[in-house]
Amino acid sequence: MFKFYKSNNNLTNDSKTEQISKERAEFLRHVHRQTIMIKFTQIFILIMVFGLWEILAKLKIIDPFITSQPSRIINTIINLYKEGVLFRHIFITCIETIIGFTLGTILGTLVAIILWWSEFISKVSEPYLVVLNSLPKIALGPVFIVWIGAGPAAIIAMTLAISLIVTILEVLNGFMAIDKDKAKLVRAFGGTKLQVMAKVILPASLPTIINALKVNVGLSWVGVIVGEFLVSKAGLGYLIVYGGQVFKLDLVMTSVLILSVAAALMYQGVVYLEKLLVKRYEV
């Protein structure tokens, strides 16, 4: 913004240049300064935390065996990379998460469509949905392991258990919130229920569905990590549990750090997708 303002001021041919008033220039400068201060403080905090952590560990004020320390984390990452397993662990966890939230969103939307279609099924299933929604889904973990077997399938089942019911309820609410007159318009043209679904309900619900996807990204990480805690031979959750068991806090901290970066990147990816798909809906 600042650059724009500056270059504008430097332009000599004022036929195109809009004269910026003193007040506006002052305002723009203020906004710009504010933005820089916020970014600066954010980075400063990050450096401070890691710096302090490193120094305190170096000075043996805190025990790096229990707290780990940034330099040891970097070494751990390098070692994992040299062993050739770093990307395998990250990849496995990410893939499980992506499958989890994609499947959760698609299945949840499908079930919501069925419930929207049939008032009878919707009413019958209501108490079951309420119970399933309030159940702590992690309790189902052992059940999945016994039924599906100790492997990625059980982990994905875990993520589905966590995200599915929320998705169904949210998407169904989205369907119900759509102006009834929009459906009436389609029916007045002689449209069938299927056409109401395809022409109005689904396209109008795209923002809701993307929003459910966003929520599901977070929930799927929970599901995948819990699932990997319970059963797994690889993945970031596995590294965390393994590191905890053999008291390698370096490994635990490293995995947690990678996890937070991966989760943030994935979330940003979905936000980007949202911008791409939903821009038409902002009136």
Binding site: D179, R187, F189, G190
Partner: protein, 258 residues
């Protein structure tokens, strides 16, 4: 018994709504005949079943008693001969104006090159062609209403039903859109039935104003509107002396007490 003279005929229409709390009689004994090209408007106190009546004519709602005939043919469901315009324009934000205009044809699986050409013709005639690739949010309220009307006209209905079609607009826009839509309806030679709570709007646009009673709605009176004008438009109608006379008469009929 059924003569082909009228494009639309209502025979003894009655409607009762059922709910757990009881039965609500919405309409009773409505008889109405509309000639081709006529503009009929229906006014009445709120909750008198005006909109219910339109839903019945459109075929979306089956009356408890009586029947609706369009060109002598009994209406049993939504018909291609009838176009319905709702309170808001309900243009879909995710479709361009052209895609919105083609919605009805798409639903009726009639998107042919000729139909598309007709859509383009209508868009050109009514000044929206340059906006065909724009999205509804980029259009003004009046243009949106015009696009909604074109969406209805493209399916080529004989009868247009307007259900408080202008109530979502602010007053000034509303007056302009009244003129706009009226001109288009007359030019395309369509029969129109408009429901409104605005007495002035109904007089300014209609050839005949029908007053309904309080619930259950029955026809209280019928007023033929004749303006001493060469070329009548809703705006010019508001300026002739007869306007006030009609207004007073219908206002009395409505018998509104606060």
């Amino acid at each position: 018994m059924i003569t082909l003279k009228y494009i639309l005929e209502l025979h003894n229409i009655g409607m009762k709504y059922q709910s757990l709390n009881g039965e609500i009689p919405a309409l009773e004994n409505i008889n109405l005949s509309v000639s081709e090209g006529e503009f009929v408007s229906i006014v009445g106190p709120s909750g008198c079943g005006k909109s219910t009546l339109l839903s019945i004519i459109s075929g979306l709602l089956t009356p408890t008693s009586g029947s609706v005939y369009v060109e002598g043919e009994r209406i049993k469901g939504p018909s291609k001969k009838i176009g319905y315009m709702l309170q808001k324009d309900h243009l879909f934000e995710w479709r361009t104006i052209m895609q919105n205009v083609l919605l009805g044809l798409e639903i009726q699986k009639r998107v042919t090159p000729e139909a598309k050409e007709y859509a383009v013709h209508l868009l050109k005639t009514y000044g929206l062609y340059d906006f065909r690739d724009k999205y509804p949010s980029q259009l003004s309220g009046g243009m949106r209403q015009r696009a909604a009307l074109i969406r209805t006209l493209v399916t080529n209905p004989q009868i247009l039903l307007l259900d408080e079609a202008f109530s979502a607009l602010d007053y000034q826009t509303r007056l302009a859109v009244n003129d706009d839509i009226y001109t288009i309806i007359k030019k395309e030679n369509k029969t129109a039935i408009m429901v409104t709570h605005d007495i002035a709007e109904s007089i300014s646009m209609a050839d005949r104003v029908i007053v309904l009673t309080r619930r259950p709605g029955t026809i209280k009176s019928c007023h033929i509107i004749k303006m001493n004008l060469d070329k009548r438009t809703p705006l010019s109608s508001r300026e002739v002396p007869e306007f006030q006379t009609y207004f007073r008469r219908i206002w009395k009929e409505l018998d509104i007490h606060v």
